[in-house]
C-alpha cells in the first residue's frame, strides 16, 4: 500500500529523470547568461534580459506551442534534427526535458545572476594580477563564491520541472512511460471515473518531492554560506 505500484514507479522515475536532465542542460547556459547579464553592459541587454524571462510570464501552453512549431516534425529545427540525425524531440521524453528546461530557466538564471552580482568584481581582478587567467579566476573565485546561489537556482528549476504541466502536455502530449510525468499522471487519474484515490497518492508524492527539494536547497545554501 505504501510502496508505489509499477505504474507509479515509472511516473516517479520519469519525473526525476526529466527534472535532473533539465537542470544539467540549463546550468551551463544559466551560468554563462547570468555572468553576461551581471557583468557586461551592451546594447540590447534589456531585450536579452526580457527574452530570458519571457517563459516566466508566458502561459506555459504558449511556450509548449511555440516549441511544437519550432521542433515538431514539420517545424524548422525539428525537420533538420529529424532528417540529419534521426532525432525526434516532440512527443518524446527529450521534449519533456526541453519543455521543463525552458520553463524553469528564468528561475535558475535569476538566482545565478543575483549570486554573481553579489560577488565583488574586484576579487576577480585581484585573482588576475595574481596570475590566474580569466577562466580560472571566474571558476575559482566568482563562481565558487556564487555557488550557493547557483545551487538554489538549480533546485528551483528542478522543483519547477516537477510541476511542469502546460508546456509539456502541449509539446509532447501525455504518453504513458514516455512523457507522462507526475502532474500529467495526476491529470490523467482525475479524468478517470474512479481514479481519485490513485490521484491522491500521486498528489502526496508530489508534495513530498517538492518540499524535499526546497528544504534541501535551503539547507545546502545555509551550509555553504558558513
Amino acid at each position: 500500500m505504501i510502496f508505489p505500484t509499477p505504474e507509479e514507479y515509472t511516473v516517479l522515475v520519469l519525473s526525476l529523470k526529466v527534472g535532473l536532465l533539465c537542470v544539467v542542460i540549463s546550468l551551463p547556459f544559466a551560468v554563462l547568461l547570468g555572468w553576461v547579464l551581471a557583468r557586461k553592459n551592451f546594447r540590447g541587454k534589456l531585450i536579452l534580459d526580457g527574452l530570458c524571462h519571457l517563459p516566466l510570464v508566458l502561459p506555459p501552453v504558449v511556450v509548449g506551442y511555440l516549441l511544437l512549431l519550432l521542433l515538431g516534425r514539420r517545424g524548422f529545427l525539428g525537420q533538420i534534427l529529424n532528417d540529419w540525425f534521426g532525432l525526434q524531440i516532440a512527443f518524446t521524453w527529450r521534449g519533456a526535458v526541453l519543455a521543463a528546461a525552458v520553463v524553469g530557466f528564468p528561475l535558475m538564471l535569476r538566482a545565478v545572476r543575483l549570486a554573481i552580482e553579489s560577488v565583488d568584481p574586484r576579487l576577480e581582478r585581484a585573482a588576475r594580477t595574481l596570475g590566474a587567467n580569466p577562466l580560472r579566476a571566474f571558476f575559482s573565485i566568482t563562481l565558487r563564491l556564487a555557488a550557493p546561489g547557483v545551487l538554489v537556482g538549480s533546485l528551483l528549476a528542478f522543483a519547477r520541472s516537477l510541476g511542469e504541466f502546460g508546456a509539456t502536455i502541449t509539446f509532447v502530449s501525455n504518453i504513458a512511460g514516455e512523457t507522462r510525468t507526475l502532474p500529467l499522471a495526476i491529470f490523467t487519474y482525475i479524468n478517470q471515473p474512479d481514479g481519485e484515490a490513485a490521484a491522491a497518492r500521486l498528489v502526496l508524492l508530489s508534495i513530498i518531492l517538492s518540499l524535499g527539494a526546497l528544504i534541501a536547497s535551503e539547507a545546502i545554501a545555509r551550509k555553504m554560506k558558513t
Binding site: 576579487l123 581582478r125 585581484a126 585573482a127 588576475r128 594580477t129 595574481l130 596570475g131 590566474a132 565558487r144
Partner: protein
C-alpha cells in the same frame, strides 16, 4: 626600472604620464582623485591605456603601436589593493598560495615559509579572512602578492584603511620587503609622512599630470607642490645629523627625537606636521617639551579657516596656529619667535643621500 609613457582619457581629466622609475622604491604622491589608482591599474593591466607604452626592465607590458598588451596574469606585477581584497572563501594559507600555485617551480623566488615568517602569519594560517583584523588582512595581502615573485610590487594606499597604531606596525614589514627581499616597489599614498619612511623618491601627481618627479626634499618647496602637501597636513622636513640614538642636531640646535636605529653621524630627514608646532614669544620655563628652536616669522597666510605661519629656523617651516592666537601674540612678519615641537611629533625620515 619601470618606464611609463601612457595616456588615458578619464571622466574628469586626462591621465598623461611620462616617467621612469629607477629607485628600489618610488612613491606616487597626490591628493585623492588625482589618478593614482588609475595609473596602478594601467600598470597591472586591469585598465588599458588609450595610447603609449609601459616597459619593465626588458619586457614590454604594453605598446599601443605594436599592439602588445600583456594580460594581467602575464605581467608578474604584485598588486596590493587599498582594500586588501582577500578571497573570503579561502583561509589565510590558501590565500597566500593562490598566486604561488600558478608559478612554475623555477619561477618561485620565495619560499612560502620564509614569507610567512617575515610577515609573522604563522598563527593565522587556518583562519578565514573575516576573522582577521585590518592589519592582519593587509599583511596577508602583502604576502599573497610577494609569493607571486613579482617583478614589481605596486601598493595602492595599503595603510589608508588602518588606524595610526596599525600603520606604525605594518611599516617595518614594508621596510623589510624593500631591504631584504629586493623587490622594486611603487608605493602610492596621499600621506607624505608614510612615504618618507620608505623612500625620498617621489612622483607628485595632480589631475592626471606629473607635477614633479625626484627627490622629495628638492621638490617639496616648489610653489606648485607645496599647496598639495599643505592640503594634507603640511609635513615640514628638515635635514639633520644624528648625534645620539634620540638626539639630532640642526644648525647648532639640538632636537630630541623618538629613538631611532641610525648611527651617530648619519644625516637623515625628519618630518614635523604643521599642527604639531607651537609658537611662543619667550623661551618658556618648566615645560615638558624638550625642543625649542629660535625662529623668525617669514609670512602669515590665512586660507579656508586655517592660518599658517611660515617661520625661518634656517629653513622654512610652516606652523598651524589659530587666527585668535596670531592676534593674541600680535605676530608680525620679522618677529622673533620660539617654536616648540613635542619629541613624539617628530617623524623619522630616510637618510640624506
Amino acid at each position: 626600472m619601470l618606464t611609463l609613457c601612457v595616456h588615458r582619457q578619464l571622466a574628469e581629466f586626462t591621465l598623461q604620464i611620462d616617467v621612469t622609475c629607477t629607485y628600489p622604491v618610488t612613491a606616487i604622491f597626490g591628493p585623492s582623485g588625482c589618478g593614482k589608482t588609475t595609473l596602478l591599474n594601467l600598470i597591472s593591466g586591469l585598465l588599458r591605456p588609450d595610447s603609449g607604452q609601459i616597459n619593465i626592465d626588458d619586457t614590454i607590458l604594453f605598446h599601443a603601436e605594436k599592439g602588445i598588451d600583456l594580460p594581467p596574469e602575464k605581467r608578474r606585477i604584485g598588486h596590493v589593493f587599498q582594500d586588501d581584497l582577500l578571497f573570503p572563501h579561502l583561509n589565510v594559507r590558501q590565500n597566500l598560495l593562490y598566486g604561488y600555485q600558478f608559478l612554475a617551480p623555477s619561477e618561485r623566488k620565495f619560499h612560502p615559509d620564509a614569507i610567512i615568517d617575515l610577515l609573522e602569519l604563522n598563527t593565522l594560517l587556518d583562519r578565514l579572512p573575516n576573522l582577521l583584523s585590518g592589519g592582519e588582512r593587509q599583511r596577508v595581502a602583502l604576502g599573497r602578492a610577494i609569493l607571486t615573485s613579482p617583478r614589481l610590487l605596486i601598493l595602492d594606499e595599503p595603510l589608508t584603511a588602518l588606524d595610526q597604531e596599525l600603520k606604525d606596525r605594518i611599516m617595518p614589514y614594508l621596510r623589510h620587503i624593500r631591504t631584504d627581499l629586493g623587490i622594486p616597489m611603487l608605493y602610492v599614498s596621499h600621506a607624505i609622512g608614510e612615504i618618507l619612511q620608505l623612500t625620498g623618491q617621489v612622483i607628485v601627481l595632480n589631475r592626471g599630470q606629473v607635477l614633479a618627479h625626484g627627490d622629495f626634499f628638492s621638490i617639496a618647496h616648489q610653489p606648485k607642490i607645496l599647496p598639495l602637501i599643505e592640503a594634507h597636513g603640511f609635513e615640514n622636513v628638515l635635514p639633520v645629523e644624528v648625534i645620539a640614538p634620540n638626539r639630532v642636531q640642526y644648525n647648532n640646535q639640538t632636537l630630541h627625537i623618538p629613538p631611532c636605529d641610525r648611527t651617530s653621524g648619519t644625516h637623515i630627514f625628519i618630518g614635523i606636521r604643521a599642527n604639531d608646532i607651537i609658537l611662543c614669544r619667550q623661551r618658556p620655563a618648566g615645560l615638558s617639551i624638550r625642543n625649542a628652536l629660535s625662529a623668525q616669522v617669514l609670512d602669515i597666510v590665512e586660507t579656508q579657516g586655517r592660518s599658517l605661519v611660515y617661520i625661518d629656523v634656517g629653513k622654512r617651516l610652516a606652523a598651524e596656529v589659530t587666527p585668535e592666537a596670531i592676534e593674541e601674540l600680535a605676530l608680525k612678519i620679522g618677529d622673533p619667535v620660539i617654536c616648540l615641537i613635542k619629541t613624539h611629533a617628530i617623524r623619522i625620515g630616510p637618510d640624506v643621500s
